[in-house]
């Protein structure tokens, strides 16, 4: 019996599900191993009978918690996909602002109709069995995680920073190009894809387990960033994790 798989989304851009939909040929191979019973982005059907739930997006409202808990109840395995779901993502930027202001900015006059609370990753609400980090997720890593789950193996998500992959890929360090990067504290697994393309690591995969944040902030400042900008670099993706630490 093929495991039944469902996709769900919360506050996010649905870009991670799009990555899955864009697997193209590999998606067909994947469908040889699993049966997709719910995937709003590519199909009309829906079923609540599933084994693996992939959840995209952050939890940003109290009432979303019930839906999350229901998914947890239905699924044997819950996988968070994408930064919003795994680490709170850029949604957590709002946690540093006054939430009423945020509501007004987003919804204008009708703000009072829309509830909100601090954005959080889904493991702040329910237990999560596996993570596919990234903004958006990497298709190959998504497949790696699925394969691991099918084999009954804990997915192999690195606990070392992006620098490891960057060095293996023989990139010129972003700092040496006069740019500012949070790769030294960001969890690897993306094969340093952004730096490979000549840009920087923004930190979308979140912090490694034990980052040396002080040293990294010192490095950013030593190379010419203001203290505020250095803090901003950290907040972009690490907002939730930083508050929790």
């Amino acid at each position: 019996m093929k495991p039944k798989v469902a996709f769900f989304d919360f506050a996010g851009c649905e870009g991670d599900q799009l990555q899955v939909a864009n697997l193209e040929e590999e998606l067909l191979n994947l469908l040889g191993q699993v049966k997709v019973v719910s995937f709003r982005e590519v199909m009309k059907e829906h079923s609540d009978n599933y084994d693996i739930a992939f959840i995209e997006g952050s939890c940003t409202r109290l009432q979303d918690e019930d839906r999350l808990k229901q998914i947890r109840k239905n699924a044997k395995i819950v996988v968070a996909i994408g930064s919003c779901a795994t680490i709170g993502g850029i949604n957590s930027l709002k946690n540093y602002k006054d939430l009423d202001e945020v509501r007004k900015t987003v919804y204008g006059e009708n703000a009072r109709l829309f509830d909100t609370y601090s954005a959080r990753p889904i493991d702040a609400v329910i237990d999560v069995d596996a993570y596919v980090h990234g903004c958006p997720i990497d298709r190959d890593e998504f497949l790696q995680v699925v394969k691991s789950l099918l084999l009954g193996k804990k997915p192999d998500i690195p606990n070392y920073p992006v620098c490891v992959e960057c060095k293996k890929n023989e990139n010129v360090c972003a700092f040496e190009r006069g740019q500012f990067c949070v790769g030294p504290v960001t969890r690897a697994g993306c094969n340093s894809c952004c730096v490979n393309e000549g840009t920087i690591c923004w930190g979308c995969r979140g912090l490694v387990d034990n980052p040396n944040e002080n040293s990294q902030k010192e490095v950013l400042i030593k190379y010419g960033l203001t203290v505020d900008d250095a803090i901003g670099k950290f907040r972009l993706y690490f907002g939730w994790q930083e508050r929790k630490r």
Binding site: N29, G32, K147, G152, K153, C163, K167, V208, N210, V219
Partner: protein, 638 residues
């Protein structure tokens, strides 16, 4: 020495490139930096570079390399015989050539790494003397800035021409076959090359305040120096950059990569680094080098002391890549060693050069990364966490182990894990494992059943010296799963009972339901030639236990033994050793009568990957069985 005009050299390189049987590699620019890469034309060559981002070791020990492929139906096979084009690597600086010579020795020790040497043998190295020195470079201090060995050809830029030193017949042949207008050097050119070399020796901007031959001894005196390593590593990001760019670093990790059918896959090795947090972490979660200062220190000791003691060289060539890649600027060996030198001096400690170590490197055959296919013939659940497996190699051979050795067990698509053989070598046809469910491999193994296939490599490690123990009284001390490796020796002793004196087994676990090999232990109680005492840390109300209650050390006062004739054989969780050893010592057991079996993250099994290293010792190769007298001074051991 020969001479070739630069335009003729370019022609030579272009001829090599046009020859489809060669893979021509050279130094090219990459942004403002340089990197070795495939050459399309001689015009891409930048022999005036300072340093490349990565050293040329990537061509022999690639960032990612398939070791083994597997097919669930047929088992494991070696990677297809590599279609290796002979490589010509142009523009290697002397320090990187020395680094390759270091790698050669490391990958040759004990057993040769076939994947490294198949590529190494198919390569021709054309070196170039340094024209610009990176500001981080200190190769002159390490004796690696100019060399007269290790290359096939060595170029020196003399303006409109190159002087070529021939290091090896392979280089000369290449030159004769493909280069035009090569002439013998005149006295003037020979003199010029000598002058260039002298200039190189004074190019370094990094300066040591002392003779670098003092490094091994300086390190010896600084291992436990309070605060020193903490101070230097405070800003360490544990990003691994320093070790990943190092030309002499060789640690690796091994992973399985199944394809989507889950039927086929490959086993891959990738670069790893001892600075990374999880490097010495085992499946149970225990991390043997958990802090940044200890990992930071390990790097310097590995380069400056452990490899020196083993091979006789300091495994640093002074390229300066670690320094230049460290964002907080704490990885510069020159700064660290200068500071160490001055601190040591300020404390009045005199440091003399280390005596040349006795280097005795044996090598025999190749490492076999391909597991043998084996079948589970029996599976018996023992406790909630442990399962007993009896396994038979499909080729009908015996695993042929010594008591105390371990095998690497493979599960398709999951990976490999080191597991001690639990049966005595006297048992033929099959062997036994007692496996605790802790990591991916062991968890999956627990779901397999009789008839299912696994892979087996080994046996590995030294094992117990059953000969040495002959005629002695044996005191076995086992904690928890520690009984599993001890059982291989214990059963061997029972099968050769007349060769040994008294046999005492003390065995402790947390609670009665965790007792392993219960039936066998019951049978022991009936024997009059074995003294057996079990204990449990505690007994829950719903369980029955009429034996001792208390940790394992509470059993030691309950047995009488003669410390002069008794050997204690101890295996258990890490925490157990120091207490058991202290109690044995208080009973006057000499240090060399205490034998331990240690657990670490043993990935390759052959002393290469680096994960199981405790100070200078590879547990997988030098252990896992150790005489306490040999490791009591090894700080990371216990």
């Amino acid at each position: 020495m020969r001479i070739i005009l630069k335009e003729d050299f370019a022609e030579f390189v272009n001829t090599l490139i046009k020859n489809n049987s060669l893979n021509v590699i050279g130094v090219k620019s990459k942004g403002d930096k340089f990197a070795f890469g495939h050459l399309e034309s001689a015009s891409e060559l930048r022999l005036d570079y300072d340093v490349t981002l990565l050293p040329p070791k990537k061509y022999f020990f690639p960032q990612r390399e398939t070791l083994v492929t597997y097919n669930v139906a047929n088992g494991f096979s070696a990677k297809d015989p590599a279609d290796i084009k002979p490589m010509v690597i142009i523009g290697v600086h002397p320090y990187d050539i020395v680094a390759l010579l270091h790698m050669d020795e490391i990958f040759r020790e004990t057993k040769s790494d076939p994947y490294y040497f198949e590529k190494r043998k198919a390569s021709i190295i054309i070196g170039v003397n340094i024209q610009k020195m990176s500001k981080w470079c200190f190769a002159p201090y390490m004796g690696c800035a100019i060399i007269d060995y290790g290359y096939d050809l060595m170029l020196t830029d003399l303006g409109n021409r190159y002087a070529i030193n021939i290091g090896h017949a392979k280089g000369e042949e290449l030159l004769m076959k493909y280069a035009k207008n090569v002439t013998d050097a005149l006295a003037r050119d020979i003199q010029l090359v000598g002058q260039k070399k002298r200039e190189i020796m004074s190019m370094a901007q990094q300066k040591f305040d002392f003779e670098t031959e003092l490094i091994p001894e300086l390190l010896s005196k600084s291992y436990g120096e309070s605060g020193f390593w903490e101070k230097h590593s405070e800003k360490c990001l544990a990003c691994g950059s320093c070790v990943l760019v190092c030309p002499t670093c060789y640690c690796f990790d091994v992973k399985d990569n199944p394809d989507l059918s889950l039927e086929y896959g490959e086993r891959i090795r990738t670069w790893d680094g001892c600075l990374l947090e999880d490097f010495a972490k085992i499946a149970s979660g225990e991390n043997f080098r958990p802090t940044r200062p200890t990992r930071y220190r390990h790097r310097y000791f590995k380069k400056g002391k452990y490899l020196f003691d083993r091979f006789g060289f300091i495994s640093c060539v002074g390229c300066g890549r670690c320094s230049s890649n460290c964002l907080p600027d704490i990885a510069n060996p020159v700064n660290l060693f200068n500071d160490m030198y001055h601190e040591t001096r300020s404390m009045g400690v005199q440091v003399a050069p280390a005596t040349e170590p006795e280097v005795d490197i044996q090598t025999e055959g190749n490492i076999d990364y391909v597991p043998k296919l084996a079948t589970i013939v029996k599976k018996v659940p023992m406790t909630a966490k442990e399962t007993f497996f009896e396994i038979k190699l499909d080729d009908g051979s015996d695993v042929d182990h010594k008591p105390g050795q371990f095998v690497e067990v493979s599960v398709f698509g999951i990976g490999e894990a080191p597991i001690s053989v639990s049966s005595s070598p006297t048992k033929k046809g099959t062997f036994e494992l007692c496996v605790r469910k802790v990591g991916n491999v062991t968890t999956k193994l627990h779901t397999l059943n009789a008839g299912d296939k696994v892979g087996v490599r080994g046996p590995f490690g030294n094992g117990f010296d059953a000969e040495l123990l002959k005629g002695k009284d044996l005191l076995f001390v086992a904690g928890g799963l520690g009984i599993a490796p001890l059982r291989s020796l214990f059963n061997y002793v029972l099968d050769n009972r007349e060769d040994y004196g008294r046999v005492i087994l003390l065995y402790g676990c947390k609670e009665p339901r965790e007792l392993l090999f219960g039936d066998e232990l019951l049978a022991l109680a009936k024997r009059d030639d074995v003294e057996f005492k079990p204990t449990v840390d505690w007994c829950p109300e719903n369980e029955v236990w009429d034996g001792n209650i208390g940790v394992i050390t509470t059993l030691i006062p309950q047995v009488n033994f003669d410390p002069e004739t008794t050997y204690a054989i101890v295996c258990g969780p890490t925490i157990m050793y120091k207490f058991v050893i202290a109690d044995l010592k208080s009973r006057n057991v000499p240090d060399n009568h205490i034998i331990l079996s240690l657990e670490r993250r043993m990935k390759c099994g052959v002393g290469k990957c680096g994960h199981c290293q405790i100070n200078q010792i590879y547990v997988c190769k030098d252990g896992p069985v150790f005489n306490y007298s040999k490791i009591k001074g090894v700080p990371e051991a216990l």
